[in-house]
Every structure is written in C-alpha cells, then in structure tokens.
C-alpha cells in the first residue's frame, strides 16, 4: 500500500517533468492530465472515494479548456527559459524551500498516521462519532460538506460562479453598448 503510493507519486513527478519540459504543447497538456489521473488513483488508495470522483470530471474539463487554448493556427514553438542568472537564482530558491520544508515534515506524524489521532479534541473525531446522529448522513464527508461546513460549500459555489463570469467577460469580444449611446468605432483586437 505505502509502496504503491510512492510509485504513484513518482509517476506523477515524471509526468509533471514531461509536461513542463516537452516542446510540443499538446503533449504537455496530455501529460498534465496524466498527473491529474494519477492523483485520482492515489485518492482511491487513500480511502477517499468522494474526492476521487470529482477530479475525473475536473481533469477532463481542464483538458478541453487547455486544448482549446493550444489549437492555434501558426502557433510558434520556442525553446529556452529565462536568462542564466535568473535560472541560478530560481534553483537556489527551490533548494532553500525544499530544505526548509523537509524540516517541517519532522513535526508531522509519519505517513499513515493522521494528525487527528494525536489530538483528543479534534473536530474530526466529533464528526466521526456524532455525524450519523447529528445529520442523518451515512457518508461523513457529505455530512461535513453539506451540514457542518455548509457555508464553505456556499462560498465555493460563489467563487466558481464569479470565476466563470470573469472568464466569459475576459473572452467576450464586443463590449456591451446601450442603444442610446452614439455609435463608436468597433473595438476589435
């Protein structure tokens, strides 16, 4: 089980490196979907079926959106990154972040032992013990999502709505005009 998780994570890292370093944009888009589906399998292994179902839909939608942006006539492929000095600074920063974050993991319990096991009054314990009686939902994740923390879900719906409205506004070509305003020059790109 733990070995399987390690293999899946290594697969995801390799797919991510391919997605970032390949020259073909379409191959990069498909590789990033491989990362997403790797996380789907990992969620199933980590006993999270509710979480595993959602990324299947989300990854397919991301694939469609990214392919729409990639299919361009005469899209130039270009190689090369930032300049050498910036590259060195970036790698040094990543190294510092890695070394600092590795120390943080020492304070966490080992993988396979949840944080809530060490806290006697963790809210997760209350949800697990009383979830069925409080909410009537046999699935505790649903109980948390739609009852204990329902305002979070309301906020999620609001954020999703706002971001889609924003995306449509950005993509729209014509600005909205009132009929009374004088005819102005068509704003095109």
């Amino acid at each position: 089980m733990l070995e399987m998780m390690g293999l899946l994570l290594i697969f995801m890292i390799i797919a991510a490196i391919v997605a970032i370093e390949t020259r073909d944009l379409l191959a990069a888009v498909i590789s990033v979907t491989a990362v997403g589906f790797g996380s789907v399998i990992a969620f199933f292994y980590m006993r999270a079926p509710d979480v595993a179902i959602v990324p299947i839909v989300v990854e397919v939608l991301i694939l469609v959106i990214l392919i729409r942006a990639t299919l361009r006539v005469g899209l130039k492929t270009f190689v090369g990154n930032r300049d050498f000095f910036g590259m060195m600074v970036t790698i040094a920063m990543l190294l510092v972040i890695f070394l600092a974050a590795i120390r943080v993991f020492n304070d966490l319990p080992a993988f396979g032992e949840p944080v809530m096991a060490k806290m006697m009054d963790a809210p997760s314990r209350i949800y697990l013990a009383n979830g069925l009686n409080d909410t009537g939902a046999a699935n505790i994740v649903t109980a948390v999502l739609l009852d204990y923390r329902a305002y979070d879900t309301l906020g999620e719906a609001t954020v999703l709505f706002t971001s889609i409205i924003g995306a449509i506004t950005i993509i729209r070509k014509k600005a909205r005009k009132k009929p009374s305003e004088p005819e102005v020059e068509e704003w095109t790109v």
Partner: protein, 115 residues
C-alpha cells in the same frame, strides 16, 4: 518519504511557474501545483489500513470512529478541486486574450511590446 515526494511534485510545478516563458506552460505548472497541494492535504488525513468515512448498517460506531480516515481534509479538498477548475478557466481565458492582442504566448515578447 511520501511527504517529501509530494513536496518534490510541488517544487516541479513551482519551477515551471518561475522559469517557463510560454503562458500555456505556466498555466500547466499551476495545475500541477494544485494537484500537489490537494494530494498533500488528503495525505495528512490518511490512516494506515483505515476505512473510508462511509458508514453502513454493519459498522459499529465505536470501531468506525477509531478506524476511519480523517473526513475533514477530504471535504476541504473536494471544495478546493472545484475552485481550481475555476482558476484554470480564468487563467486560460486571460492567456487567450493576450494571444489575440499580441499574437504570441511568449511572455518575453509581450513584455517587450509594452501595450
């Protein structure tokens, strides 16, 4: 060990955001960053040989509470994944708009053109 691999995935995404010149590559790196963070939050709640936080008629509530994985990170990640879709849609919309205006995805060229 597993946390370190998850961190490595995060750093691969961060490298892409900081180094790449192609706007689509930057969006792809953001998607990888999101996957890594969601993975990490679910990993914090995992219990070895645990059961999914779904009750059935046979489960004893006492045993269930001591063997189930943590449900709260799962619920929060469920929210975060959907919001990630909204973020990706909006960044792709911005990138496509920039392409229509400048005719390239290269951020170096876009910077040189100056509006």
């Amino acid at each position: 060990m597993h946390y370190a691999l998850c961190l490595a995935l995060f750093l691969v995404g961060l490298y892409g955001v900081m180094v790449k010149r192609n706007l689509i590559k930057i969006v792809i790196s953001l998607v990888i960053l999101e996957s890594a963070v969601n993975m990490f939050i679910v990993m914090i709640g995992y219990r070895e040989d645990g059961i999914a936080p779904i009750m059935s008629k046979m489960t004893d509530p006492e045993v269930f509470a001591s063997r189930s994985v943590d449900p709260v990170p799962q619920a929060l990640v469920l929210t975060a994944i959907v919001i990630g879709l909204g973020v990706t849609a909006m960044t792709v919309a911005l990138a496509m708009r920039l392409y229509e205006k400048y005719g390239t995805y290269d951020i170096k060229e876009i910077r040189n053109l100056k509006g």
